[in-house]
């Protein structure tokens, strides 16, 4: 595909996106409006992440794409192929080898390092959206740091269910200022957001917003003193690699209720298996 510019977007568009990214990095957790373009893939399928990746990729980069933690889910394959075709960058499935990682719904298990960029695909960037549908209102609430509504929602969860009934896209507060949606990652991943060595960029294409966390930013998951935030995962080891510290997918293996739990991060699981770790179902 030589008819398109490197990484598909024209340089003016990339410059516009980079400006939004820089502004986002300067004001961690603040949602920067940007003139999102129509991409050759549908809105809601990672167009925000794709535009951010296109704006930060250089020909020397090594690119990894995961969806649900896995490199081989169909949409991850599709986005990886898009950048192989339009940017010709080297791609990898190895977390440690990647310089730019685009992700949907997970943070890799292996800690990221300085020099890496993690790009999140974001469906609804506004953490207050389901409490207040109007953008004009929620922007005001952020400006005035008016987050009482969110705390009331969490409190009502506790009053009704005994727990905060949010298991993914769990809201966080960034550097004591902006309440931010971490994208629909499981709350298991929330503790990795804070103090991360890598740059974290969040792109919401349809909603035309970009936000960011510079390295080593303070990110606190919302909670109460007597009901603190609690990361959780299925209480099993991985059946393939035996890991007890990774987020697990539940897989139904027969029609009589049989199930097993395996790492959602395919690279983490494969790397552990290659190092000789074995779970209960490993061959």
């Amino acid at each position: 595909m030589t008819d398109y510019n490197f990484a598909y977007l024209d340089e003016q568009t990339k410059r516009m996106i980079r400006r939004a990214i820089l502004k986002g990095l300067a004001i961690p957790g603040y949602q920067v409006p940007f003139a999102s373009r129509e991409m050759p893939m549908p809105y809601g399928w990672g167009t925000g992440g794709v535009q951010v990746s296109a704006a930060v990729l250089t020909p020397q980069d090594t690119f990894k794409v995961i969806d649900q933690g896995a490199d081989d889910t169909t949409n991850a394959v599709s986005i990886r192929q898009f950048f192989e075709r339009t940017a010709g960058v080297t791609t990898t499935t190895r977390t440690a080898e990647a310089t730019v990682i685009q992700t949907r719904h997970r943070i890799p298990e292996e800690p990221l390092t300085e020099g890496q960029i993690l790009v999140y695909q974001v469906p609804i960037p506004e953490p207050l959206r389901f409490l207040e549908p109007r953008e004009s209102e929620t922007r005001k609430m952020h400006a005035l740091e008016e987050y009482g509504l969110m705390h009331v929602k969490l409190y009502e969860d506790i009053a009704r269910h005994g727990h905060i009934a949010t298991s993914y896209a769990y809201p966080v507060k960034v550097e004591g200022r902006y309440v931010m949606d971490p994208s629909p990652i499981p709350k298991f991943d929330n503790p990795k957001l804070g103090n991360m060595a890598a740059i974290q960029l969040f792109g919401a294409g349809r909603e035309q917003r970009i936000y960011a966390l510079p390295p080593y930013t303070e990110v606190v998951s919302l909670g109460f003193e007597d009901h603190p935030f609690e990361a959780s995962k299925a209480d099993h080891p991985c059946a393939m690699c035996g890991a007890t510290d990774s987020y697990l997918d539940e897989v139904i293996v027969d029609d009589t209720g049989g199930r097993m739990f395996v790492c959602s991060d395919t690279d983490y699981c494969a790397t552990r298996q290659a190092a000789g770790h074995r779970g209960s179902e490993a061959a």
Binding site: D10, P33, F34, A35, R37, E38, M39, P40, P42, Y43, G44, W45, T47, D67, Q68, G69, D72, T73, T74, N75, A76, V77, S78, Q81, R104, H105, R106, P123, R134, E135, S136, H161, G162, H163, S167, Y168, A169, P184, I185, P186, K187, R206, Q208, R209, S232, K233, A234, A239, M240, Y247, L248, D249, E250, V253, M260, V262, S264, T266, C269, A283
Partner: protein, 362 residues
């Protein structure tokens, strides 16, 4: 034995091959040409141009062919292509008063300068399936007449002379560009009209219909509906003056809406406006009704809480490419989120004693 699911790549390739085969259909049937689609499915082509925001009948026809007739998919192909095109500049505003009209009707005056021209409309056809078309498509030649050369002035201009309709004052403020800046509220009328002209026909129709049924009713008359071609002129910097670079077919609808006055405005007729690429009159009329409903604030009307009055609701949900993308994304894997929900529901059930109760019942 569980084997981690691999082969997303091969599945995608095979799916695309199958799709291509299905698109072509039975190969013993002659293939459709792009020109056939352009000429014989021209209203579909018009819709794709309008909502795709790109006036190019050949590309729209190609998109329809590639999309197997799924018009939203075709609009999507056009939008994605359109974004990649370089911009040379902006044209001069087109003068719809100088339109060479194929159709021009007014529902407010029986006769008027320029006359009523029914044009190629379905309006008075009886909706009976024409089985002759299934056999052969030959059509008898339509009678012709020399094009009229007289002026076809806008109907609202007649009302304006009497001061009966609100003035539409010329405004040279450059309009915002929806495709180059993020949509932010409050949106001025130019931006609202820009969003509405490319908005989904069905969504706009539904909203317009809701105003007729009482959700912010605004008593619209079709003051004028005109369809025809207008020249497009552009100023070329090297020349220093505007030259004609082509022509486009447009549908323009001006509604005349009853208005009893408000604190700030005297009793007068007010305007709703629709302007859409191609012959797209259902869309243009819908657009005019929705435009009028969205103007409640500037006219000092009451907000009755109707959906069509709510600019944020209308504009954020009118784009079918955004809507279909987000709607359809729920087909993508959500294993991780679903897993976290499973754990939460199990935990809540455990604590509520629901599983014990179920076991006891069994």
């Amino acid at each position: 034995m569980y084997v981690a699911v691999k082969g997303g790549e091969r599945a995608i390739e095979n799916a695309h091959a199958w799709l291509a085969e299905e698109r072509r259909g039975d190969t013993t049937i002659a293939e459709l040409s792009v020109a056939q689609i352009r000429e014989q499915l021209s209203l579909a082509v018009n819709r794709v141009m309008a909502e795709g925001s790109l006036y190019d009948p050949d590309l729209a026809a190609l998109a329809i062919k590639q999309a197997r007739g799924d018009l939203i998919e075709a609009i999507f192909l056009i939008r994605a292509y359109r974004t990649t095109l370089p911009r040379f500049g902006a044209s001069e505003p087109v003068d719809t008063g100088a339109m060479a009209c194929d159709r021009r009707i007014s529902a407010t005056f029986k006769d008027l300068p320029g006359g009523q021209i029914l044009g190629p409309t379905f309006d008075y056809t009886h909706r009976l399936l024409d089985f002759k078309l299934a056999a052969d498509g030959e059509v008898p030649e339509a009678p012709t007449q020399a094009a009229q050369t007289s002026e076809v002035p806008h109907v609202t201009g007649f009302l304006n002379r009497e001061g009966l309709i609100e003035e539409a004052l010329p405004d040279d403020t450059p309009p915002p560009d929806l495709t180059r800046a993020p949509l932010e509220m409050p949106a001025d009328r130019a931006l609202r009209l820009q969003a509405l002209t490319r908005s989904d026909e069905g969504f706009t129709l539904g909203l317009a219909y809701s105003t007729q049924r009482g959700y912010a009713r605004n008593h619209a008359f079709v003051g004028e509906l005109r369809i025809g071609t207008v020249p497009v002129e552009m100023e070329i910097p090297e020349l220093g003056f505007a030259i004609e670079i082509g022509e486009v077919t447009l549908t323009e609808c001006e509604t005349v809406n009853q208005f009893t006055g408000s604190k700030t405005e005297p009793p007068q007729f007010t305007r709703g406006y629709g302007l859409v690429f191609g012959q797209t009159e259902r869309k243009a009329i819908s657009m005019a009704l929705v435009d009028r409903a969205l103007r409640w604030e500037e006219l000092g009307e009451e907000n009755v809480g109707a959906p069509a009055q709510d600019a944020e609701f209308v504009l954020y949900h009118a784009d079918n490419i955004q809507a279909t993308g987000f709607l359809e994304h729920i087909k993508l894997p959500h294993y991780v989120d679903f897993q976290s929900e499973l754990e939460l529901v199990r935990k809540l059930r455990r604590e509520a004693g629901a599983d014990d109760a179920k076991e006891a019942a069994e």
